[in-house]
């Protein structure tokens, strides 16, 4: 490397400047909206918890949802893959489209939605099966049973979740025998095995130690090259580190939504500023 710099000395300055410019341009570039939310509302019985949420989540970017407890961010993320269906007495109105598909339309196959929109939870929940079976579960229930196909998918997914090297010698062992961070990466592998387009992450690192957390964050940097990622997090520094765009919620409303560096250095709304500077709980 230093050899190159020596021989290229007169040009080095120019080259570095163009590289820096290219990086900046790509971060700022607005991508196609993968997920379009228009005036989305949700109520649990009498409790109206999401009010007229409208936002576009960009393709292959990481979008962080932040806000105090009860602000609606987890509720919103669960709308994207219809997880709120599992709760009694929920009413949803407004539109939510994933790659053009109306998620809430009667004709929409909810199972297909949950394949295309994967999810990872705060408390990782591997099945009480082997590591291998955990990863290929989604493929098996889709009817794929060819060993070669499953083997390939298993390795690809475990590599994609940065877990392959740690478990390749023990794929037959129980998924529950892994460390917290490994179990979470196993859940990520399981989610990406069915080749989703979107990955939802609800506080994926809250239960993990700092090193496991950093590993997952590093993984997110890689995953975003292939998947659109939406992450809910209480950890503002994490949101600042991993996301490209940040949306701040307060009492069920979207208050501010923008470029992550801008939100964290010069937010436009005083409510946003007060929240991220910790001037109220």
């Amino acid at each position: 490397m230093s050899q190159d710099l020596k021989t290229a000395a007169p040009d080095t300055g120019l080259r570095i400047r163009t590289e820096v410019k290219a990086q900046d341009a790509s971060a700022a570039e607005v991508r196609e909206p993968d997920i379009v939310i228009e005036k989305l509302n949700l109520a649990y019985g009498e409790n109206h918890v999401l009010h007229d949420i409208s936002m576009a989540i960009e393709d292959r970017r990481v979008t962080a949802l932040i806000g105090p407890s009860g602000c609606g961010k987890s509720t919103l993320i669960r709308c994207i893959n219809r997880m709120n269906d599992l709760i009694d007495d929920v009413k949803v109105w407004g539109t939510l489209r994933v790659k053009g598909l109306d998620i809430n339309a009667r004709s929409t196959d909810v199972i297909e939605v949950r394949r295309r929109v994967g999810m990872v939870f705060q408390k990782s929940n591997p099945f009480p099966k082997s590591i291998y079976e955990n990863v290929v579960y989604g493929l098996r229930i889709a009817g794929i049973n060819d060993k070669a196909t499953l083997d390939e998918a298993c390795e690809r997914s475990l590599r994609g979740a940065a877990l392959w090297d740690e478990v390749k010698e023990r794929l037959g062992e129980s998924g529950l025998g892994l460390s917290g961070g490994q179990m979470q990466r196993l859940c990520i592998a399981r989610a990406i095995a069915v080749e989703p387009e979107v990955l939802l992450m609800d506080e994926p690192c809250s239960a993990l130690d700092p090193i496991a957390t950093l590993k997952i964050e590093e993984l997110i940097y890689q995953l975003k090259e292939q998947y659109t990622i939406v992450i809910v997090t209480h950890n503002l520094q994490q949101a600042a580190r991993v996301s490209d765009r940040t949306a701040f919620f307060w009492l069920g409303r979207l208050v501010e939504y923008g470029n992550t560096p801008d939100i964290f250095t010069k937010p436009k709304d005083k409510l946003t500023e007060d929240y991220i500077t910790g001037r109220f709980g």
């Binding site: 503002l236 964290f264 250095t265 010069k266 937010p267 500077t277 910790g278 001037r279």
Partner: protein, 224 residues
């Protein structure tokens, strides 16, 4: 829920900066007085009193670094701390320029005055007022006052050019005046630098308050 501990730390940081600002302003004032009243002792005092300002500079930077690491400040807090670090550097430079003025005064004093001083004291007054207002704008988070400081820099620059032209004619007419004329030209340059540092502080205040970086584009600074 307020962040009491953090607020106290921020206030302590601001106080340190203001103390430094006051010290530096006093130093400039003394150096200018030494020039106008031809006071050797006062000039010498300015030269030896740098230590206090330097110690404060190190303390301010240290506090800023610690706050960045331990409190992970964001938004306005983050801009405050980065502004503090920059203002810190500009204040220390203003202090240095005051010392330079004093050193040049000592070069002048052995000989009789070359001419009545009019432009240089005027420059000094402007530069001191700019420094005072820049620091005030920081305390009061007053971006309008900061913008006003930016506007005054041109007058200081013009006076410096005027001083140079006038002293040039003296030097051309009589080589015996060169030593004193050069010392005066250097002093006018020191004062012009003080005004420049005051405008830097004002630019940092505008960034702190409005999150707008107006450096190098003062026209944009005026168009709000």
């Amino acid at each position: 829920m307020e962040r009491h501990h953090f607020e106290e730390e921020l206030q302590a940081l601001k106080n340190r900066l203001l103390t430094m600002g006051a010290l530096v302003e006093e130093r400039v004032h003394q150096a200018v007085r030494a020039l106008i009243d031809r006071r050797q002792e006062e000039a010498e005092r300015v030269i030896v009193s740098d230590k206090e300002v330097n110690d404060l500079q190190i303390d301010v930077d240290d506090r800023c670094l610690k706050l960045l690491a331990t409190q992970t400040p964001l938004a306005g807090d983050l801009r405050l701390i980065t502004a503090a670090m920059k203002i810190n550097a500009d204040l220390e430079r203003i202090g240095d320029q005051a010392v330079n003025v004093a050193e040049n005064v000592l070069k002048l004093l052995p000989q009789p005055p070359l001419k009545p001083l009019i432009d240089i004291p005027r420059m000094a007054e402007l530069a001191q007022q700019m420094t005072r207002d820049a620091l005030d704008s920081f305390v009061r988070k007053d971006a309008d006052l900061a913008r006003d400081v930016l506007k005054r820099d041109d007058e200081v620059d013009n006076l410096k050019d005027q001083v140079f032209r006038e002293l040039l004619t003296y030097m051309m007419a009589d080589p015996g005046t060169i030593q004193r004329a050069l010392a005066l030209i250097l002093i006018s340059r020191n004062i012009e630098r003080i005004a420049d540092h005051a405008t830097n502080i004002a630019e940092d205040v505008i960034f702190l308050v409005e999150a707008k970086d107006v450096r190098h584009h003062h026209q944009e600074a005026e168009a709000k």
